[in-house]
Symmetry: C2
Subunit: 168 residues, 2 copies
Amino acid sequence: MYLELLGQMKKLLGQLDGWLAATATHAATKKIDPNLFLGFRLAPDQFAFARQVQATCDTAKLAIARMAGQEAPKHEDNEATLEELQARVRSVVAYLDGFTAKDLADAGTRSITQPRWEGKTMTGADYFVEHAVPNFFFHATTAYAILRHNGVPLGKRDFLGKLTQTMP
Amino acid sequence: MYLELLGQMKKLLGQLDGWLAATATHAATKKIDPNLFLGFRLAPDQFAFARQVQATCDTAKLAIARMAGQEAPKHEDNEATLEELQARVRSVVAYLDGFTAKDLADAGTRSITQPRWEGKTMTGADYFVEHAVPNFFFHATTAYAILRHNGVPLGKRDFLGKLTQTMP
């Protein structure tokens, strides 16, 4: 199910791309500087919108790289416009597109670490469920919440996207 | 992996229980009516905090019930205090505790529907990945964001909880 959930992350990154477009349209309609949104945040000690988008991208990128035992491509975190954030999102979607189930065959038992854990490790299975999935949705939802709080016309369907449903 | 992810939902409900306690403590310290928080929201047309907590609970409860082909217990959505919201959260944690992997043996291929879908169905596998997981984290993160926006002293560790890590 790793690939299915990573596919859902990819889908949500596509929705996030749409939120960024909706933000640009909203700013144009209201004659607001669109790049003001990059600095908006919900609390003084919480990441601003741009960093939430970067963290959403990084969580998906690092999750698939670590689960596949590969080195993830680096991003400079220097996006200064909505369009640059869209490019960041699209580069991660394209990166996710390059993986298949075969790349994740050993994902659950792989030993995962990162510098801030100071040598501690997690199994791939635990890392994915306890760290990657919650962090991904945390940052994506916080990004969405910042836009909603600042008047961008989005609704729950823009979060979930189209569902795979069978007609009656 | 359904049970592992439902276990993560249970863990996050436990964290949410802690956020509610932290909110009560914060309100007492600041001499604020603690139940004001139930009505706070980030946008006029978004659910208020109490409804976000109820939706978080319901998403987990309905996910496991639907995936196991069972009828979920009903809740009245009449919580009026932080303590009543904590009781709601705990009742769902206890409900989740009653399930084992065996209950979810047919979960992926089960046909899932709900009244608002007007007869449309999803497979259990699609429903879980596209609907249950994103909705659960959406409402939990939005509840957290409302508290952070209103000054409750919480941080990312209160969201993730303790990780299953092995010491070096």
